[in-house]
Symmetry: C2
Subunit: 440 residues, 2 copies
């Protein structure tokens, strides 16, 4: 992509309305734009990051055996009356009447709809286990949306729903998502810590929030320092191996971790003082086994191997992509701007032409741009006639992992400078060496 043809509306000033760093940086870099209170457009730079986040989520959901579908945003009120949540859900549910005066709503979540799909299409235990997920817009009419897309009203959610014949099967399904989530966040450069969440009237211990640590986090969290060194499940994890997944779950729930709501001061204090970690965190995922709550109310059952009908056991598993993007920024930035982990960076590299119009600079930049693009890299070429200082500031601000700087003097010697955005490390090398290093 050539910057001269791109749409990158960088703000020169820090926007006043931004209370946290990710909100400020997403506005400044032109990643997002507020359209109404708590409702955002994802501008091209932001859309690229969101796509990469979604791709990682999909790959890990697919790897775990979940199957993607796409449910609509608008739902009929009837379904929610069946489950009893239509009246129970408060003002956060956006209620709508269509032209026929039928009561509808903008889905805040999809338990009812997916249960309806299940009950009308699945009849036998032979179709189980089943885990259906989608990445779809949701709407929750928060009274105080804030922090940009960290807490917006219209937002994206990946929500998966598992169906099993038995409680044991449901636990296996739960552990699949548990492992998939650890992999998902890790691939985005985040260390997420699973923390027991309140299961309310459902009971049991099968509900976890995945929290990443960040100074600006919305909630206080308490955990053992050991989490920082726990191994992430490998790419070849066997998701059919119930015992293997259980071992991962056991390991990651073996030491203390709690949000303030679930905090147990005594248990925390039992950890040796040097090993306690008390910090702020951002919730980026939530998994929940809720048994037969919806399947019972809505009649979702299958014929078992015994020929009898069984109410299925369900769980739901959410990740918020539009919240993950600012969470990644909260965890990875400096005074100059964003520092993207390579896996979710909007571009892999940025080629900076220090003197657009100079024959040598143009040629060097075009050579590098063509070679990297051909190798499948996403490259942004700054071919504008902006001042050098502004170019450097923009490159640092948008946080592309590697900058390749081509100035007239170095290019005359057949060389360019590589700058690593994260470490600030600079290295001069030949054009060919630079290409080889990045194509690697």
């Amino acid at each position: 992509m050539r910057l001269s043809r791109y749409y990158l509306p960088i703000l020169k000033e820090n926007p006043k309305e931004a209370e946290i760093v990710s909100h400020r940086l997403m506005l400044r870099t032109g990643m997002i734009r507020q359209q109404s209170q708590g409702i955002y457009s994802w501008l091209p730079l932001g859309k690229r990051v969101l796509d990469k986040v979604n791709r990682i989520i999909r790959e890990e959901q697919d790897r775990s055996g979940a199957i993607e579908l796409l449910m609509p945003t608008l739902q009929s009120a009837e379904l929610w009356q069946e489950s009893g949540r239509y009246d129970a859900y408060g003002k956060e549910m956006l209620r709508i009447k269509d032209r026929q005066e039928r009561p509808m709503l903008y889905g805040p979540t999809n338990e009812e709809m997916v249960t309806d799909i299940f009950r009308s299409t699945v009849k036998s235990y032979k179709s189980l286990p089943l885990n259906l997920y989608h990445i779809q817009l949701k709407f929750r009419d928060e009274i105080r949306p804030r922090f940009g897309t960290m807490r917006s009203r219209e937002f994206l959610m990946k929500d998966a729903y598992s169906f099993d014949l038995t409680r044991e099967g449901a636990e296996h399904s739960y552990n699949k998502m548990f492992a998939a989530y650890l992999r998902t966040f890790s691939r985005m450069g985040l260390r997420a810590i699973p923390m027991r969440a309140d299961t309310g009237p459902i009971g049991g211990n099968l509900s976890h929030e995945f929290i990443i640590l960040a100074d600006t986090g919305e909630s206080e969290v308490f955990c053992h320092k050991d989490f920082v060194n726990f191994d992430i499940p490998a790419v070849d994890t066997n998701f059919d191996d119930a015992d293997g997944l259980k071992a991962i779950f056991d390991k990651w729930t073996s030491v203390y971790a709690a949000t303030s709501e679930m905090h147990d001061e005594a248990a925390f204090n039992a950890i040796p003082e040097g090993e306690r970690l008390s910090a702020r965190g951002i919730e980026v995922g939530h998994i929940f086994y809720f048994g037969t709550k919806y399947s019972e109310a809505m009649g979702a059952k299958v014929q078992g191997p015994d020929g009898k009908e069984h109410i299925v056991h369900m769980g739901s598993y959410g990740i918020g992509p539009t919240r993950l993007v600012p969470a990644i920024i909260e965890a990875s930035h400096d005074d100059n701007g964003i520092i993207w982990p390579a896996s979710v960076a909007p571009f892999d590299a940025m080629v900076i032409n220090m003197k657009a119009g100079d024959e040598g600079c143009d040629k060097a930049c075009e050579t590098i741009y063509a070679a990297l693009t051909k190798a499948g890299k996403d490259v942004l070429l700054d071919d504008t006639d902006d001042r050098a200082g502004q170019k450097f500031a923009t490159a640092d601000l948008i946080g592309v992992p590697t900058q390749i700087i081509a100035g007239p003097r170095s290019v005359a010697a057949g060389e360019v400078e590589l700058k690593d955005r994260k470490t600030g490390h600079r290295e001069v090398m030949t054009i060919e060496a630079a290409i080889n290093k990045l194509v690697g």
Copy 2:
């Protein structure tokens, strides 16, 4: 994907509510499911096709220089009051009040919002031309939604919006989309014919509907037979070459083509009788130059090279992915089911194990499945213990381009049978030859 682990809720009977073949086949194959009137879930098989359609649309939009963003579904009424369309738009607009009683709406289109984004971020002609697009859900509260996703209330639309300093620039932008659309539909196995559409009070000749011919089309169309042989713009089309694009536009608008609304009986009759084509068609795209209609009303202007302010010229360009999928089926099916063009098929190949559990069959199927998957192919392996007749019927019904049939007898001889879904051609060959043929 192994069918034993997949979610493919095939219906045994033809659904009574389906009036047209694509609706019937999409329901029967479990591609979609109606959730409310005119509101559908895309089940896994359908989602795969939709993704492939979207990918082709994106690739061709990107190739033409358009830039992707993502605007939200809900919009504030204020924007539409500015353009004057809030009152003008009828009951098809779904009007909503949020918890603060603010008037909102579910976007039926995005001219107002994108113009708002433009006016608040673009100040100079140097940022032009600019074409911003997104693929996002829309809602139009049709009084009579029907034909499945062909005419649904909640639907996906790719809508692009171009901004130019001059009328000439806008024409170039229009011709970029014109060529991109020809390529887009062609890649999906469709022959789309651009037909002049009504420009209403805007005037001029820069509005075209792209119509594909299908017996079940909603509208009557009239055109010259020559269209069938016109060349599609090549993959290396230079979108910066205004004259070259104009030549493509001129060629494709040189002979008669009109929907019934725009039909000119006398002009049509002037075509020699043997070269007239009178048929039914389905609209799959619409492009429209509307000049300064919205930029004037909403104050979208830039500073020109002359230092003065200029109201920008705009156009909008729509494609309906959720309508394209049934349109492709209307154009490509037989009595046994769907016949997917390879580019949008949910799977590239289907491996049919005629005797799951038989050592030889299992081994042959796993070998083929692994080799094709490794080569990046999307493969569906029927590893169920269904009867042979049912397996064949399902394979034909869902219309995957190539079937690889492994029965005990042929496998014992080291062979499998390949069946081409479209031609019905069958060929026996060694397992290795089958793999090589498909990986090709």
